[in-house]
């Protein structure tokens, strides 16, 4: 059992864990929080566009959604990180600005990618929640003298939002894990840091086990928090 004797968890914990819980954790947490907030806002905008009666807008959004759902998140991040700056430079030179160079930080690219990708999925959740709210709610608001827009934003959407929260929670946990994709665009998040450490020390089993545990330690309490919020919001629900 040579392999077992060679395991050196204490060394890996002492050396790797501080790295993970330092800057890497910051990157993961900030990316998730900012990415998720933007995803919800973006998802709302898409959902509102989809439930509006404007046919052209509906179609544009559907095409966009298919586009996002039909390509992997990893590819989207790579595209945003490596390709978008080139497009912007190309565009700049077309309109006559020469020598214009753009670069985008890996974290920003990650946040944009996550926000767009998750926003697209979340928009469908929100849309179906909006549709599932009984039309009587809107009619009651209209009958009281609210405008269409007020009925939507004051009565229908708050209820749709509540119904969406459980699903939001799932997406939030998923997003924490998907920040690992940013390793591919050089962000110094958990996976990237672990990979680098393994390359130096060859403590492969130890390092990746620690990495997996760190994700668990973040995600399991997060699920509990989400369930708690869900219960709070359920108050007064039919």
């Amino acid at each position: 059992m040579k392999v077992l004797e060679n395991l050196n968890f204490s060394k890996a914990i002492v050396e790797l864990l501080p790295k993970l819980l330092g800057e890497a954790l910051q990157i993961v947490v900030i990316t998730t929080i900012v990415g998720f907030l933007f995803a919800i806002v973006f998802g709302f905008i898409l959902a509102l566009g989809r439930v509006s009666k404007k046919k052209a807008l509906n179609h544009i959004i559907i095409v966009f959604q298919e586009f996002i759902r039909g390509t992997p998140l990893l590819v989207q991040m790579v595209y945003i990180y490596y390709v978008m700056p080139l497009f912007i430079e190309m565009f700049a030179s077309i309109i006559g600005i020469e020598g214009f160079s753009v670069s985008i930080s890996s974290m920003t690219a990650g946040i944009i990618g996550l926000a767009i990708n998750y926003g697209t999925y979340i928009s469908e959740v929100i849309r179906s929640s909006i549709i599932s709210i009984d039309n009587g709610q809107k009619e009651a608001a209209l009958a009281l003298g609210f405008s269409n827009r007020q009925a939507m934003f004051r009565i229908v959407i708050p209820q749709a939002f509540r119904n969406s929260v459980p699903v939001f929670g799932n997406y939030l946990v998923m997003m924490v894990k998907d920040t690992s994709l940013m390793a591919y665009i050089t962000a110094q998040e958990f996976l990237m840091v672990t990979k680098a450490y393994t390359a130096q020390t060859f403590l492969t089993i130890e390092s990746y086990t620690i990495l997996a545990s760190v994700y668990l330690i973040i995600c399991i309490p997060l699920s509990f928090v989400i369930r708690f919020i869900e219960r709070k919001l359920n108050k007064g629900r039919r």
């Binding site: 009984d134 009651a140 009958a143 009281l144 003298g145 209820q159 007064g236 629900r237 039919r238």
Partner: protein, 244 residues
């Protein structure tokens, strides 16, 4: 001048003509009860009165103004027309008192204390002052409908529309709702009520209208309607519902 005057009202859903040339006027303080078989257009007619359905043609005159004319301020008009629905449609994420005060605070821009005070008065009136702080989910159907009535009254409407307010209720809960409506009628509220409660129609209505297939078949006083209906169809319908 009648409070509300409906002239030549027609409503089509696609090719289906649900209301055909309806002419009805409602005087201030009058209680109008609409009866008739389901699918006769009663509810659609009521919903046309506050433009939840937009009539295909015809006129609805309120205060000398046709509410169907271009640029008519519909929101303003709806504030003066209270409505109660078959399924109550209370806002489930608000407490009972918030349901009642929400529109006065946000539309009439009343301050919170004033709206609360008025809201509590109305809840007392419908016998639910003790339920002010609970959510609608904990209430029975009859209680929910009474809250819905209080919510509509909080806007101080000139007329109240009731769209089968007791149809979704267990039989033993119907009485409480009808009593509240009776009280309202006694206070002189103008009301248009679609209902299958013939007892209520008999006792409370000033006028009863029998509708069928989108037409007003008979329009008379309750005594006339229930003791001496003129139209064959009215007789047939009444004999069927009154035998039950």
């Amino acid at each position: 001048m009648p409070l509300l005057e409906v002239k030549g009202l027609q409503k089509k859903f696609g090719d289906l003509e649900v209301l055909k040339n309806i002419n009805i006027s409602i005087e201030e303080g009058e209680v109008l009860v609409l009866i008739g078989p389901s699918g006769s257009g009663k509810s659609t007619f009521l919903r046309c009165l506050n433009l939840l359905e937009v009539p295909t043609s015809g006129e609805v005159i309120y205060n000398g103004e046709n509410i169907l004319k271009h640029k008519f301020n519909v929101m303003n008009y709806r504030q003066k027309v209270g409505m109660c629905f078959q399924n109550f449609n209370l806002f489930p994420f608000m407490t009972v008192i918030d349901n009642v005060t929400y529109a006065p605070i946000h539309i009439l821009k009343k301050n919170k204390e004033e709206a609360q005070e008025k809201g509590m008065q109305l809840l007392k009136k419908v016998g639910l002052a003790d339920k002010a702080k609970v959510y609608p989910e904990t209430l029975s159907g009859g209680q929910r409908q009474r809250v819905a009535i209080a919510r509509a009254l909080a806007m101080e409407p000139k007329i109240m529309l009731f769209d089968e307010p007791t149809s979704a209720l267990d039989p033993e809960l119907v009485g409480d709702v009808l009593n509240v409506m009776r009280e309202l009628a006694d206070e002189g509220m103008t009301m248009a009520v679609v209902t299958h409660e013939m007892g209520f129609a008999k006792d409370v209505a000033d006028r009863v209208i029998f509708m069928e297939s989108g037409y007003v078949v008979e329009d008379s006083s309750p005594i006339e309607m229930f003791t001496n209906p003129k139209n064959e169809r009215t007789k047939e319908f009444l004999s069927r519902v009154l035998d039950k």
